[in-house]
C-alpha cells in the first residue's frame, strides 16, 4: 500500500447513468461522476440507498454500460468485463452451490482456459490465504455466510486481478463477523497489494478499511465529498476505538445524514405521487 504511484489505476470521467422506468420516466442514477483511483489504493463508496454506488461499481467492472462518460483502466476504455484485470466480490457470495469450495475458487481460471493442475494450485494457495484450506472439498451450503464470502474473495484473488471491486461484501453478515472479516481483508490486501473499490453502508467499515471514502449524494448520484483516512496499514483493531477514528466516523455521519434524509423524503413524496397517479389513472 506504501507504493502508490502517481498514475491512476482507474479513471472515471463524467460518467452519467440514466434509465427509463416502466412508466416512461427518466431516472438519473449517476450524474457526471469523476474519480481517480490510484494503484494500491482502497476507496470506499458510501451514500444513501439508490445513490447509484453499486451501479457505479458495475460500470467500473464493465458489467453495465453507462449512458455517457468514460471509464479507463490502465489507459484503456472499459467496454465489458476484463477478468484479467478486474475481480468482483458480490454481496450474496454467488458461489456455485453444486461445486466444491476448491472448484468454486478455480472456476474463473477454468473460464480462462488454464490447465487443471495449474488452476488447482492457484486455487489452493488462495484458499489457504483466506484460511479455508481445510474446507476445500466441502460444498458452499455447508459453510457459514462469512466463510462463503471468504471463499468468494479467494475466488476473485485467484484470478490475480489488479483491481478488486466489492459490492457490500459483508452486508449480509452480522456485526462481529463483519468486523473480523474487515480486519482479515486488510491483512490479505497487505499481502497482495490490490487496488480496491468497496461499496458499503457501514460508516465504521468505510473508515476502518479505506484510504479514501467517497461520499455520494442522494439521487441523482453525485460525489459530494471525499474524506482521506491517514492511518498506517495494516490497520489495528485499536484504531477503531481511537479519537481519530471517532472523529472521522462522526464527520462521515454528518455528511451522510443530510443525504439519507433527503433521499428518504424524496422516496416518501415519490410514493405519495405514485398513489395519487394510481387514483387518477
Amino acid at each position: 500500500m506504501a507504493e502508490t504511484t502517481t498514475a491512476p489505476a482507474l479513471t472515471v470521467t463524467e460518467v452519467t447513468m440514466a434509465y427509463q422506468t416502466q412508466r416512461g420516466h427518466t431516472v438519473v442514477a449517476l450524474d457526471r461522476v469523476s474519480l481517480d483511483v490510484r494503484r494500491g489504493e482502497f476507496v470506499s463508496l458510501i451514500g444513501p440507498s439508490g445513490c447509484g454506488k453499486s451501479t457505479l461499481l458495475y460500470i467500473l467492472g464493465g458489467l453495465r454500460r453507462q449512458t455517457s462518460g468514460e471509464v479507463t483502466l490502465d489507459g484503456q476504455r472499459v467496454t465489458g468485463p476484463t477478468p484479467r484485470k478486474v475481480g468482483f466480490v458480490f454481496q450474496d457470495y454467488t458461489l456455485f452451490p453444486w461445486r466444491t469450495i476448491i472448484s468454486n475458487v478455480e472456476v474463473g481460471l477454468e473460464f480462462r482456459g488454464m490447465g487443471r493442475r495449474e488452476r488447482r494450485e492457484h486455487a489452493a494457495h488462495n484458499l489457504d490465504l483466506v484460511g479455508l484450506g481445510a474446507f476445500a472439498n466441502a460444498y458452499p451450503g455447508e459453510l457459514s455466510g462469512g466463510m462463503q464470502q471468504r471463499v468468494a474473495i479467494a475466488r476473485a484473488l485467484s484470478m490475480d486481478p489488479e483491481i478488486l471491486l466489492m459490492d457490500e461484501p459483508f452486508g449480509a453478515l452480522d456485526e462481529q463477523t463483519r468486523t473480523v472479516l474487515g480486519e482479515e481483508l486488510d491483512r490479505i490486501l497487505e499481502k497482495t497489494g490490490k487496488t480496491i473499490v468497496f461499496v458499503t453502508h457501514s460508516l465504521s467499515e468505510a473508515v476502518f478499511l479505506s484510504d479514501r471514502v467517497v461520499v455520494m449524494s442522494a439521487r441523482p448520484g453525485r460525489i459530494k465529498e471525499i474524506l482521506t483516512v491517514d492511518e498506517p496499514r495494516p490497520r489495528q483493531p485499536a484504531f477503531s476505538t481511537s479519537t481519530a477514528f471517532t472523529d472521522l466516523r462522526n464527520g462521515l455521519f454528518d455528511l451522510l445524514h443530510e443525504e439519507v434524509r433527503a433521499a428518504t423524503l424524496a422516496e416518501m413524496s415519490g410514493a405519495g405521487l405514485a398513489v395519487d397517479g394510481g387514483r387518477r389513472g
Binding site: P81, P83, F88, T94, F96, F111
Partner: protein, 283 residues
C-alpha cells in the same frame, strides 16, 4: 409420543423375527427397513386382508373385484403366457421410445424457450395452451393419421410426454439464479461456458423433475392409446378379460403395470439423489 407407540409394534415383530432363525437374521443385515417402511408394510397388509375379506364374504361381488389371492394366482398364470409377456414387453418398448422422443424434443424446446426471449414469446403461449388442452380429444386424429398400430401409440405417448417436459424445462432454465450468471460474466465466462457451468447444473433439478413428469405422461399416453386402439397388446387383453368378467386377470395386468411404474419411480428417485448430492448439504 403417540406416533412412537403406533410405529413400535412392527419394529417389535422385526426383532422377534430376527431371533427366530438364522436365515432372516442374515437377511436383516443387507435390508434394514426403516420404521416408515414397516409402517407402509403394515398398512399394506391390513389393506390386503380387508380386501380379501370383503370379496370372500361377498360384500363386494366377485364379478367386479377379485380377491388379492386370486389376483396373485392370475399374475402367475399370465406371466406364464407368452402372448401376454410379449404384449407387456411391447408396451414397455413403446413407452421407452415414446419417452425418449418426448425427452429429447422437450428438453431442446424447453432450453430454447428458456434461453431465447424470442423463442419464449413465440412458442410458450402455444405450448402452454396445448398443454392445458386435454389431449384425449385428439385421439381419433392420431388413429386416423397413424392407424391402430405401434405408430399411433408411440406418437401419442411422445406428444403426451413432450408438453410437460418442455414447459417445466423452460421454467427451470428461466429460474437459474441471475446473480450466478452475473458472477460468471464477471469472471469472463463465454456463452458456452456459462451454459455448461451455470445454466445446466443450475436447472438440473428442475430438468430431472421435468423428465419425471414426461415419463409419467408418456406411459399414460401409451396405455391410454392401448385401451383405445386395442387389436393386440396389453389394452387388448385388459378389454378382453373385462368383457369376459375375468376381473382377477384384469387386476393382475393393472397391478403389473403399476409395479412397473413404481419401479420406474424408485429408480428415478435414486438416480436423482445421486446426481444432486450437493443439495443434501443445504440446511
Amino acid at each position: 409420543m403417540s406416533t412412537d407407540q403406533t410405529v413400535r409394534p412392527p419394529a417389535g415383530i422385526a426383532v422377534s423375527g430376527r431371533g427366530a432363525g438364522p436365515a432372516p437374521a442374515s437377511r436383516a443385515r443387507w435390508w434394514r427397513p426403516s420404521r416408515t417402511t414397516w409402517g407402509i408394510l403394515a398398512v399394506l397388509a391390513v389393506w390386503l386382508v380387508a380386501w380379501e375379506l370383503t370379496v370372500r364374504t361377498g360384500l363386494i361381488s366377485s364379478t367386479f373385484a377379485a380377491a388379492p389371492s386370486e389376483v396373485a394366482v392370475a399374475m402367475v398364470e399370465l406371466a406364464g403366457d407368452g402372448n401376454v409377456r410379449s404384449a407387456f414387453a411391447a408396451a414397455i418398448g413403446m413407452f421407452v421410445v415414446a419417452f425418449a422422443i418426448a425427452a429429447v424434443a422437450g428438453v431442446l424446446m424447453g432450453a430454447a424457450m428458456g434461453l431465447s426471449r424470442i423463442a419464449y414469446r413465440v412458442f410458450h403461449p402455444v405450448i402452454l395452451g396445448l398443454f392445458s388442452t386435454p389431449k384425449m380429444i385428439f385421439i381419433p386424429i392420431f388413429i386416423l393419421v397413424a392407424g391402430f398400430g405401434v405408430a399411433s401409440k408411440i406418437s401419442y405417448g411422445a406428444v403426451s410426454g413432450f408438453f410437460p417436459v418442455a414447459v417445466t424445462v423452460t421454467a427451470g432454465v428461466r429460474m437459474v439464479d441471475r446473480r450466478l450468471l452475473l458472477a460468471a460474466r464477471s469472471m469472463g465466462a463465454s456463452r458456452p461456458q456459462t451454459l455448461r457451468s451455470v445454466v445446466v447444473p443450475g436447472s438440473l433439478p428442475t430438468v430431472m423433475a421435468a423428465l419425471w413428469y414426461g415419463m409419467k405422461h408418456a406411459l399414460l399416453g401409451v396405455l391410454i392409446m392401448e385401451l383405445f386402439a386395442s387389436q393386440e397388446g396389453i389394452g387388448h387383453y385388459i378389454g378382453l378379460y373385462t368383457s369376459t368378467f375375468r376381473t382377477d386377470r384384469v387386476f393382475a395386468l393393472v397391478l403389473g403395470l403399476a409395479l412397473f411404474a413404481i419401479l420406474l419411480g424408485s429408480l428415478w428417485r435414486w438416480q436423482e439423489k445421486r446426481l444432486s448430492r450437493w443439495r443434501g448439504t443445504h440446511g
